[in-house]
Symmetry: C2
Subunit: 463 residues, 2 copies
């Protein structure tokens, strides 16, 4: 059975139909880790997980086959032990599991002692954050981090299949378009002289990727970004991954089409490629998850002007609805409670809110003809609120320059960014998705600390 090396391959081959002739494949070798081990004195059962698949494979070991001494040894292998196993592969169509392995030999490759923290019981997410180097071995985090990996591939396939060029925008940067909460970088003696200028960790790749957009038309970034906000919330981390596509010869409507395509592609992709994991999330993390995601797939994305949203929220308050921020007025920055009301109560589905007041949005967003709003959109979805933020970019040299000067930006540092408007500029647009937030949305996990391999937040960097 040379060709079957992993539990994933076994499940994918023998779980559903296509059961090939077993004569030639009954001998099998596997490696993996013990999840549980129990016995009745003459027959024992080990649930083995080899990391390649969400489900375990059942090993059956028999005193009559192994002998007394070996049986006794195997029966003492603890949860977490690493094993090399040989045995006979047996289909068991009458049992709960589709197949099992009748052990002929087991070698202990790596043992554990009684201090192993992952004994068979449920651990709280909080406790597991204290052992981030071990938590990927639990069911929940195994599912989370496989989802994270599969979703990364979904992103790359979505964009590359359409000819987008992936750009590694720099992490080290001298400029920022995302405010003051930026980390600073020095050499170990805290010397700024390495690069000869102030050096920050990038909070967004957008500014840099725009130059590639104006060469390649359709481009995207996908990499780590950083904020040094001194806040502890469920949705903020100091290091997180962002996806930032940018498209040339495109306006806000083109942008929203791309966002809708991207989000629905990701949902379909993980439903197809993480089937077991998504079932697990739905059973153990958020029982509304699959309904919620399928609802998004089957609901056209709606669009609503910010100005209309304000009217609706005002009416809601007048009719007795209470928000924590209950004073609704045009020009305000909407809170999550307002966004969720609009997407959950008003349109009951995904909603693009568009054309926000220019004062509450970034300098690079294109000013609309009304002189008051910019061509920006936020995608709001039920249960989460804002999932994606995008905009058409200001492509008019004079308008952009005036806005930047008014904002007291360093015009020397941004000269090259303005060049993009002088040298064959064109209308273009883009958006940003917080990748970690997308993993949360697709898994039902509600704390960003539980979807990142090693999470970094204010006052917290254990590993």
């Amino acid at each position: 059975m040379e060709e079957f090396k992993t539990v994933r391959e076994l499940f994918e081959t023998f779980n559903y139909g296509d059961r090939i002739n077993l004569d030639s494949i009954t001998e099998i070798e596997l490696e993996g880790w013990v999840k549980t081990n129990r016995n009745n004195g003459s027959i024992g059962f080990i649930e083995l997980n080899d990391g390649t698949y969400f489900k375990n494979i059942q090993l059956v070991y028999d005193k009559n086959i192994l002998g007394d001494e070996e049986f006794d040894k195997v029966s003492h292998y603890l949860t977490g032990s690493a094993l090399d196993v040989k045995g006979k592969f047996i289909l068991t169509p009458e049992s709960k599991q589709p197949f099992e392995v009748q052990v002929t030999s087991i070698e202990l490759e790596g043992d554990v002692d009684e201090s192993y923290p992952l004994q068979k019981k449920r651990h709280s997410f909080e406790y597991l954050r204290e052992i981030q180097h071990l938590r990927p071995r639990t069911n929940t985090f195994n599912a989370v981090f496989r989802l994270r990996s599969v979703l990364s591939m979904a992103i790359h396939e979505f964009f590359q299949n359409q000819g987008f060029v992936y750009v590694h925008t720099p992490v080290l940067t001298g400029i920022t378009c995302e405010g003051d909460d930026m980390f600073h970088v020095t050499t170990k003696d805290k010397d700024d002289a390495y690069f000869g200028r102030k050096t920050l960790l990038s909070g967004s790749g957008q500014i840099h990727v725009e130059s590639f957009c104006l060469a390649f038309r359709d481009v995207y970034t996908f990499g780590p970004t950083f904020r040094s906000e001194k806040s502890n919330t469920r949705t903020h981390a100091s290091e997180f991954w962002m996806i930032e596509p940018e498209i040339a010869f495109a306006d806000l409507d083109d942008d929203m089409s791309l966002i809708e395509d991207c989000v629905t592609y990701c949902i379909k992709y993980v439903l197809e490629n993480c089937e077991e994991e998504m079932k697990f999330f739905n059973n153990f993390v958020d029982k509304t998850l699959l309904d919620r995601l399928n609802h998004v797939l089957n609901t056209p994305f709606k669009k609503m002007e910010y100005t209309e949203a304000i009217e609706i929220l005002k009416k809601a308050v007048a009719n007795g609805h209470h928000f924590d921020v209950n004073k609704i007025e045009w020009g305000m920055d909407l809170q999550s409670e307002h966004e969720r009301y609009l997407t959950e109560e008003v349109v009951k589905g995904p909603l693009f809110l568009i054309n926000y007041p220019k004062e509450i949005k970034s300098f690079y967003m294109r000013e609309n003809d009304d002189g008051k709003t910019v061509a920006a959109c936020d995608l709001l979805v039920p249960a989460v609120g804002e999932l994606v933020g995008g905009s058409q970019r200001e492509e008019r040299y004079d308008v952009l320059k005036a806005k930047m000067e008014k904002a007291n930006m360093d015009m020397d540092a941004y000269g090259w960014y303005l060049d993009l408007r002088r040298y064959g500029g064109c209308k273009h647009a883009g958006f940003g998705i917080g990748f970690d937030r997308l993993v949360m949305y697709l898994s039902g996990i509600t704390n960003i600390r539980d979807v990142q391999p090693y999470t970094r937040t204010y006052k917290n960097m254990l590993y």
Copy 2:
């Protein structure tokens, strides 16, 4: 001709066979940038590039169709201008280009002035490094950055097709396994207190990804890494991307098989998916490129012990060969000149050098039974030298702990790393590929500054 929006789609459809009925598709709309514009007084030709494809499409504009005034206007559009074009799509099997567009209308979407730096002439790489925001518009850098994008996809496909889990190891870290040349991170007031401990930019994801390897079996990282070396060479940058796979239940031989598969997969992938770009590199950057890469595809990768390599180099010196570092002795760190001699002159093909002296390799590499060497491998290839470095990891708790203590490492910070050897540890191995160096290898470009979107090196961060 609604369905054809990009020049890439046109070339992929009409360049080779499969010429569909043109009756329904003769009207076309395109957007793009002027590469050249010339006319003979009554007929003009614009080479338009829309960013989606390496080749340009030819626009033909005719005074009899556009009228005198419009013809005059169009004839003054400069290189770099952004255009919206409508016209008739015409197959031209008798011409050099397979098709052209007979213009019916052109709108100028974004103009340029005479200061536009990319006029039609060849620019030096050095000059283009001064205008990194514009160089993707040149043929060479268009090819480089598309190769970079396609090669990223090759990496993800190679690993994901085999079930590897992609792990976003952290950039911010409290530990490092890559020496002293690390950047430090603070808040803007140079305060270390944000995380409550010394914070570095990671030089490698390996240490962190090992914990995922021991949960998922086969994993990989692909992300930015950092070094603050104060050196200016053609191959070192302060920020670069690394690929670091890690495989469980695997030894050095398994590791080398994976490296060989990965490198040949990448070569085949870019030859198939960047055909025009690879031809361009072969014609204009390195005329030996395609021969060199095809040679690697057709040559089995050889293996040689470090100890044997030292003997061969000693003999070469004895026979009159001169190296800059000409004193060859066991225990030395091989220089690029030695590595290239071995791969180019001795085996004339890809070569794994294995089992290096433990003193010149990292603490985490597995000590061999001879007590003198470690199970490490470097892949050497002609024209470049070292392309990949890998090793089997020390999985024996006591051996690793003793080595770390001897090296005066911070045992508190690394406690969790040692845990991986206490809790179901197993033999495992991994390797690292510098992604930027791989782009150089596959393009023939010889300076790392010319394969990175925005390069960061000592004393140099322009954008």
